[in-house]
């Protein structure tokens, strides 16, 4: 439990901006609207992220790293 408390508000996702083609797939599956597509990059709100990993699974370019 201690570890989970520590992780609250800490997102485990890493978006590789060099790989991202800003298609917005990750935004569409994010259940918490933690990801927002700006014109040419994805911005994410670590406080909203619940570390569900959906975005990493969805990303057609494999540009999101998620380690739990």
């Amino acid at each position: 439990m201690f570890i989970i408390e520590e992780l609250k508000g800490v997102s485990l996702i890493k978006i590789d901006r060099h790989r991202c083609i800003y298609c917005g797939a990750c935004v569409g599956v994010c259940p918490k609207l933690a990801l927002i597509l700006k014109e040419t990059f994805v911005e994410y709100d670590e406080k909203k992220c619940i570390n569900c990993g959906m975005c990493a699974k969805a990303c057609p370019m494999k540009a999101i790293d998620f380690k739990k």
């Binding site: 083609i21 569409g28 994010c30 969805a58 057609p60």
Partner: protein
């Protein structure tokens, strides 16, 4: 820019621009905004469009927006031993250039009287007494607020606007495919759309080659959201394992999510309409959304203008859009969804067996939604599929 509009449309894709044009033509004051600095780019699409849609939508496509003319499709079995070609007046179509096509549609909207503003991002949907009443947006660094009687969310796969307004339009992995596509040169093409079925090459999806010219094609793959790995890995493998692509060069990378489940349960709320991919109005079999979005956008734009003029923009009044759309498109989409859910249960051996006896006439019947003759034919050869296929009878 004004402070008040009858209709604000967010997203200048085919659905949004079509809605804006129709609403403006019906006499509404319309604002069409889009996050991108250049409407049409980046492309997220296979770019195929059946020519029958031009008549159905009253759409004119400029020659510049047409990359290639298509006479039909060819489908390949997983073992590549069989191909089935279908070419008839109804399978004719175009592979278009979405960059030109989308911009043309936005230009049409502007000509019809809509205000069009690029590089404008909505960061908040405003509500009053629970009813959507406008947006807060950022236009190239300048923040502004605009009120509207009807907000049309046509913001594509992200579907952020509907969710900001409190409607859960989040895409679920099971009911979504994820696609990646390379536009490649030095690829020999015919005037046919090529579809490759194979569990290993594209689980719960397919690989496509859409010709954009004699030697240019969109080569892409879509996979089901619950499948292993990411779409790009499948596409890279398909290209590497296929001699045809030796020497092919990639001139564009496109991708995105493709909702292939049911459309949203509710397409309207007080002061809000949802249109196109944002509303999951996508064909569950081939994943195409452009034409469906324009069809829905056209209906939504007209209804929005009428409701705004009558000052009745509550959910019940706006439901007219949903009701017309569901009557027109709903049953067909649901039939195709049923087909998708059956197809995803089949493995490569099943597909190989089905392809052995499949004719272009069978395909034609499947496309038209008449599953029975084909299913009976398949069951005769492969009775073990009875349980799975009975859903189609």
């Amino acid at each position: 820019m004004k402070a008040d509009y009858d209709v604000i449309v967010v997203g200048a894709g085919p659905g949004g621009s079509f809605a804006a044009k129709k609403a403006a033509k019906a006499g509404a004051s319309v604002l069409l905004i889009d996050r991108r600095k250049e409407l049409g780019a980046p492309v997220r699409c296979g770019e195929g469009l059946g020519s029958h849609w031009l008549d159905e939508l009253g759409l004119k496509v400029s020659p510049k927006a047409i990359s290639a003319e298509i006479s039909g499709s060819v489908l390949y079995s997983p073992n590549m031993k069989r191909e089935v070609k279908i070419q008839n007046p109804e399978t004719r179509g175009y592979v278009i250039d979405r960059k030109v096509f989308d911009k043309d549609l936005a230009i049409d909207a502007g000509r019809a009287g809509a205000e069009v503003i690029a590089k404008t991002e909505v960061y908040e949907v405003m509500k009053k007494d629970g009813k959507v009443c406008g947006v807060k947006a950022n236009c190239a660094g300048d923040k502004f607020e605009a009120n509207c009687k009807v907000l049309i969310a046509a913001d594509g796969g992200e579907s952020t606007i509907a969710r900001m307004a409190g409607i859960d339009s989040t895409a679920t992995l099971y009911d979504t495919d994820f696609g990646i596509e390379y536009e490649m040169v030095n690829v020999d093409c015919q005037d046919l759309i090529e579809i490759y079925f194979s569990k290993s090459a594209a689980p719960r999806g397919y690989v496509w080659v859409f010709p954009k010219g004699k030697d240019v094609a969109n080569v892409g793959v879509g996979i089901g959201g619950l499948e292993k790995g990411n779409a790009v890995e499948y596409l890279d493998r398909f290209i590497k394992n296929n001699k045809r692509f030796e020497g092919a060069q990639t001139v564009a990378i496109k991708g995105g999510l493709i909702p292939v489940g049911e459309p949203l349960k509710e397409l309207v709320a007080d002061g809000l309409m949802i249109v196109g991919t944002a509303a999951h109005q996508v064909d569950p079999i081939h994943g195409g959304g452009m034409a469906l979005a324009m069809e829905a956008g056209g209906i939504a734009g007209e209804v929005a203008a009428k409701c705004a003029a009558e000052e009745k923009t509550d959910k019940k009044s706006l439901y007219e859009y949903e009701s017309i759309w569901r009557k027109k498109v709903g049953p067909k989409l649901m039939r195709r969804l049923r087909l998708r859910k059956v197809l995803e249960k089949l493995d490569d051996n099943d597909f190989n067996a089905i392809f052995e006896n499949l004719t272009d006439k069978d395909l034609d019947e499947l496309i038209k939604g008449d599953y029975k003759p084909v299913v009976q034919k398949v069951l005769f050869k492969r009775p073990q599929l009875l349980k799975v296929l009975s859903a189609l009878l």
